[in-house]
């Protein structure tokens, strides 16, 4: 009887470790532009279709008249809160196809978050401060990340298998809005490099100009 108990424990332990190991795999992604400079704020995700989530919330802050962070990625169905941590009021809006919304002039926390239930890019801005601009990217997966200043990002806890890894960036040239690569995940960490050609994108001018003779 003891032999059967030991065997059962052995198989349970082995399957647990195997299962854990198979999810410990990851993809290290580097995103660079045509000149090999690191690209920050690239959204990197695994292409798959998961049902939309509910009750998942994320924060996009407003500090010193800027949205923080500049790029946010969420799974479809997520709610985003837009607290205003400036001591002034902001008016946040978006005209994007994936989500049109407006938070009329407010300070502090808006009464309710905004739910994003359609895939795609949402460009948002503030109607009072024209230079304030940020992007939300809504995807059908929970496996996503954003590149840091060094253009680096890691997709972790992936099971073994074949994946399509997609990269999106707000400044990517039209032809490269979505840049995808196939990858077979085995044990350990794998590496991918994405080259995302960048177009110049401008925010409204914020720095002060000459104040002479031009009243507020």
């Amino acid at each position: 009887m003891k032999i059967f108990q030991l065997a059962a424990w052995y198989f349970i332990s082995i399957s647990f470790v195997t299962s854990w190991l198979s999810h410990a795999n990851s993809i290290k992604v580097s995103v660079v532009d045509e000149k090999k400079n690191p690209v920050e704020f690239a959204v990197i995700y695994i292409k798959e279709t998961l049902p939309k989530v509910s009750g998942h919330s994320v924060v996009i802050d407003q500090v010193d008249k800027e949205f923080i962070p500049y790029v946010t990625v969420v799974q479809r169905g997520s709610a985003i809160n837009f607290p205003n941590n400036d001591e002034i009021r902001h008016q946040v809006y978006s005209f994007s196809k994936s989500k049109q919304f407006e938070l009329p002039l407010y300070s502090g926390n808006p009464s309710s978050p905004v739910v994003f239930d359609k895939n795609g890019v949402i460009a948002m801005a503030c109607n009072i401060h024209d230079w304030m601009k940020a992007y939300i990217y809504v995807v059908d997966t929970n496996k996503f990340t954003i590149s840091d200043k060094a253009g680096q990002a890691v997709l972790s806890n992936l099971a073994k298998g074949q994946y399509e890894v997609v990269v999106w960036h707000p400044k990517a040239k039209e032809s490269e809005q979505l840049n995808a690569q196939q990858i077979d995940i085995g044990d350990g960490e794998q590496k991918l490099v994405f080259i995302v050609a960048q177009k110049t994108q401008f925010k409204a001018w914020r720095s002060p100009k000459s104040v002479r003779r031009r009243g507020y």
Partner: protein, 295 residues
């Protein structure tokens, strides 16, 4: 003046959404500009043998606050203090203390919505040579819009009135109030973002109305012969006469701004003034470099 006030106020009230939210005081205004300028023909003389050039340092400061009526309309109240120090003609050193009220209205939600801005500004300019001190009042109405992510256009009209001190009469049949002037500027402004650090701006202003010019005693007779001089008096700064004319002027300006941060920038400005009365031409060019800080 009532008409000037009535037009923008009516437009703003009519286009403000009916459900206006409660307004409140919002951002503080705290701007400073330190500039150095080289000015040729400071006295705006019409005679090439009679021009004086100079350099000046100026420190301008503005403090105030915005009042946000709703998502589309805001008002600014500010106090302005400017100090100018000339290198050679130190009798033109001056201090200006002024106040400005502005109302800016954006016609809807979105980056490309145009705006209308109305400003009333009063300032007292106290010049080292007190006879040249003046009070300045100007009213500006500006309309502008972002055309795309790089290009913004604006057009404005402003009415300026200046009042000077009592000056001695030197030509009996002419007045001496050379610094009592009325003039209008029609201006267009173009801002073009070259990169997130560099901004190219240009403007053209058509000035109609009074302006003043100085010349040496030797040239006064020539001026009186060909120009419709409205007022003349002695000029203690440049040593000749200063006189008032009515005419049209073209003012061309170009500037290149460099963003040091969200709150600070450097600006290089070139401005060319090209005035014309009956016969004579009055030209001045200035180059200035400034450091600007905005809170």
């Amino acid at each position: 003046m009532k008409m000037i006030l009535a037009v923008p106020v009516t437009i703003i009230i009519l286009s403000t959404p009916v459900v206006a939210q409660q307004g409140e005081w919002v951002e503080w205004i705290a701007d400073a500009e330190l500039s150095y300028a080289a000015i040729d023909n400071l006295n705006l003389s019409a005679f090439s043998d009679d021009t004086h050039s100079d350099k000046r340092v100026a420190l301008d400061g503005i403090v105030g606050r915005f009042y946000q009526f709703n998502g589309f309309t805001r008002m600014s109240l500010s106090l302005e203090l400017d100090v100018e120090k000339h290198q050679e003609f130190d009798s033109l050193d001056n201090r200006q203390l002024g106040a400005n009220v502005g109302v800016r209205h954006k016609f809807g939600l979105g980056f490309y919505q145009p705006y209308l801005q109305f400003n009333v500004n009063y300032r007292h300019q106290e010049v080292e040579w007190d006879a040249n001190s003046i009070d300045i009042t100007f009213t500006t109405l500006e309309f502008g819009q972002h055309i795309n992510n790089q290009l913004s256009l604006a057009a404005s009209i402003d009415f300026t009135a200046t009042t000077g001190n009592e000056r001695p009469v030197i030509v009996p049949e002419l007045a001496s109030d050379v610094f009592d002037q009325r003039f209008i500027h029609f201006s267009v402004f173009v801002d073009y973002i070259l990169s997130q650090e560099w901004l190219l701006s240009a403007s053209y202003s058509r000035r109609q109305g009074d302006f003043n010019s100085s010349c040496s005693q030797a040239n006064v007779a020539k001026v009186l012969e060909v120009e419709q001089v409205k007022a003349i008096t002695k000029d203690d700064v440049f040593g000749g006469c200063v006189y008032k004319l009515e005419g049209n002027s073209n003012i061309y300006s170009a500037s290149l701004g460099y963003s040091l941060s969200n709150h600070a920038g450097l600006n290089f400005v070139v401005e060319h003034y090209q005035g014309k009365a009956e016969v004579l031409d009055y030209q001045r060019t200035s180059y200035s470099l400034s450091f600007n800080y905005r809170y």
